[in-house]
Subunit: 329 residues, 2 copies
C-alpha cells in the first residue's frame, strides 16, 4: 500500500509473478475491500490465477513521510507490520514492499529479529554491469559502520549472490579510492585486513570506476557510500538520457536516426533499469524481506517477488549462518 504508485502496481506485479512462476502464491496485504476490488479489475480473463493470490486485511498504512521509528511503534496494524507477522507465524515465507524503506527495515528487525551472529542487518542491491550483475552491500541501512559490520556484509552478500546467481565462489571487492592495499579511509583499511584474513574470495579494493565493469561479484561498502553510489548512478542515468534527447532534438537528421535506434535504446534501458534487478534484499534478518524502490512498476514488483522466492527456495539465510560459523571457527 505504501509505494509511490499505490497498490495497483503491487497487484499487477503479483499477477505477473504468479503467471510466470510455478507454485508461487502471493498474499496481498492491505484494506480488504480496496484490494479485492482492484484485484478483480486487474485479473480480467485470468481467473485461474486467483487460486494463488489471496488478500490479507490490514487497516493501516505507513506513508513515505512517516518516521520509521515512530511508525513501527504506533501503527501496529500497518501492512508492513502485518506482513512480517505472517512470516514470523509461518504463514508467509517472505515480504516484498515498495513502501517506506526505513520502516520496512525497522519492522523486519522488530518482528523477526536478526540471524544468529549478525550484528547489523543491511540492504543489498544488484547493479547492472557490462557482464553479470554485481551485488553492492550496504546501500543505505547502516550509515556509520565498523570493520566488523562490513566484514559481515561481505559474508552475507557472498552467500546470497552465490545462491541467486549460481556462482561457485563470488569474487568480493571492497569499494575504495585506489586498488592498492593501504588505499582508502580508516574504515576501509581495517576492513581490508579482516577480509584478507577470511576464507572469502576477496580480490582486494575496487574503485568507483570498476563497479560497472563486471569483474567482481560482490562489492562491500558502508551504507552512506553505498546509498550515494546507487543514487548518483540513477541520477546520472536520468540526466544523461535527457541530455542525449536534447541533442537529438536539435536536428531533423538526428530525429530520424532516433526513430531507427528506438528499439536499441529500449534494450539498453532494460539493461540499466533497476526495475529489472528485483529490489534490494534485506540480509541478516531471521526471515526474508525485499525492499523495492518507492516508484516501482509492476515489472519491478514481479522481479522482487521472484528474487524473494529464490532466496527462500535456496535457503540463503541458512547459508549465511553456516558461513559465519565456519569462518569464525
Amino acid at each position: 500500500m505504501g509505494g509511490d504508485r499505490g497498490s495497483e502496481m503491487a497487484i499487477q506485479g503479483a499477477l505477473a509473478a504468479v503467471r510466470d512462476t510455478k507454485g508461487l502464491e502471493v498474499i496481498l496485504i492491505g484494506p480488504r475491500t480496496i484490494l479485492e476490488q482492484q484485484l478483480v479489475e486487474h485479473v480480467a480473463g485470468n481467473i485461474e490465477f486467483l487460486e494463488r493470490i489471496s488478500v490479507h486485511h490490514a487497516s493501516e498504512v505507513i506513508t513515505m513521510d512517516d518516521s520509521p521509528v515512530d511508525a513501527v511503534r504506533k501503527k501496529k496494524e500497518a501492512t508492513i507490520m502485518v506482513g512480517f507477522d505472517l512470516v514470523k507465524n509461518g504463514l508467509a515465507d517472505a515480504v516484498v514492499s515498495a513502501g517506506n524503506s526505513g520502516a520496512t527495515m525497522a519492522a523486519a528487525v522488530r518482528k523477526l529479529g536478526r540471524l544468529p551472529g549478525i550484528s547489523r542487518p543491511g540492504l543489498a542491491s544488484f547493479f547492472p554491469t557490462l557482464k553479470k550483475p554485481v551485488m553492492l552491500m550496504d546501500i543505505g541501512a547502516n550509515v556509520d559502520c565498523r570493520p566488523q559490520h562490513l566484514y559481515q556484509f561481505a559474508v552475507m552478500a557472498s552467500s546470497c549472490s552465490r545462491l541467486l546467481l549460481n556462482l561457485d565462489q563470488p569474487r568480493i571487492g571492497l569499494l575504495s579510492i585506489g586498488e592498492e592495499t593501504g588505499k582508502g579511509n580508516a574504515l576501509v583499511k581495517e576492513t581490508y585486513d579482516l577480509l584478507k584474513q577470511s576464507p572469502l574470495n576477496f580480490i582486494g579494493n575496487v574503485e568507483g570506476r570498476d563497479v560497472y565493469k563486471g569483474d567482481v561479484d560482490v562489492i562491500v561498502c558502508d551504507g552512506f557510500v553505498g546509498n550515494i553510489s546507487l543514487k548518483i548512478s540513477e541520477g546520472l542515468a536520468d540526466a544523461a538520457m535527457q541530455m542525449l534527447k536534447r541533442e537529438i532534438m536539435k536536428t531533423w537528421r538526428a530525429k530520424l536516426g532516433y526513430l531507427l535506434i528506438r528499439e536499441a535504446l529500449k534494450g539498453f534501458k532494460k539493461q540499466v533499469d533497476y526495475a529489472e534487478y528485483g529490489g534490494a534484499p534485506l540480509l541478516g534478518i531471521d526471515g526474508t524481506g525485499i525492499i523495492c524502490h518507492g516508484s516501482s512498476n509492476a515489472t519491478a514488483i514481479r522481479n522482487a517477488i521472484e528474487v524473494a522466492a529464490n532466496m527462500v527456495r535456496n535457503r540463503v539465510n541458512e547459508a549465511i549462518v553456516q558461513a559465519l560459523g565456519e569462518y569464525a571457527a
Copy 2:
C-alpha cells in the same frame, strides 16, 4: 611529463591555450631537449605563439607508480617540484599537472604551504549537470574528515565557483542520503549544523540523485565519498556507452540510425566529458594548482590552463581568505 599520455598532450594543450587566451604565457617544465624538440614539431606554422611559450628545464619525473610522500622527498628536481618552486619565487602564477595527483598535492603543500586559516587543502572538480556545472569538493585529497574540514571545503568552493562561474551567491549543498535535516552519517550531521549557522548560502542536504540536476552550485563531501562519486560516474558513463553500442550493433536498422545521430552523440559526449571542465583546482594552498586526469588530452590541458588563469585573475585565494575571516568574525 608525468601524465599517462606523455608531454605531447601538455604541449598541444599549451599551444591551444596560448592561441585562445590573450596575454597568457605558458612555461613547459621538463627535460629541455625533449620538450624543445616536441615543441618545434607541434608549433608548425604558428611561430608567433613561441613568444608566449617557454621551456624550463627539470631533470626528474615523478611517475604514476611513485609513492607521493617518498617522491616529493627524494625527487627534488622533479618537474612538479620545480613548477611549484617557480610559483613560490614569483616566476609563475599557477601550476597545471596531469601527473601523479598525490605527489602534486604533496608538492604544492610542501612548497607553497596552506592559506592562512585553512587546515586541509582539498581538490574540487566541476561535474556536468542538466543546467550549470556543479563544483564538488573534496574529490579525493582528504579521505577521513572532520566537520570543520567540510565547512572549509564549502567556504573555498563557494568562493571559487562564485568567481569562476560569475555567480552571486553559490548555493551550497551537503551530500547525504536524504534531504531532511538529521539524515546522513555522523560527519554529515555535525557538518550540517556548522553550515546552517554560517553566512554561506546553504540549501541543506542533497542526495546522490540531485548531483546531476543542476539545482545546486557547490556540493560538499569528504574526499572518500567525493572520489567514489567521481569515479563511479566516469565508470557508468563508459559502461553505458558500451552497452548502447552493443545494442545498436544488433540490427542494420539501428546501425543506420547510429550514423544519423552520430553528431548528436558527439554533442552529448562533449557535455559529459570531464575534459571540458578543466581539471581539479587544488584549493587551500598559498598559490594556484590544477590537477588534471592522468589520461588528459590536449583539450583537457587547454581548459585546465584557462581555469588556472581565471583563478589567478579573479584572485580566488584572496576571496577565500577574506571569506574565512569574515565568517569567523
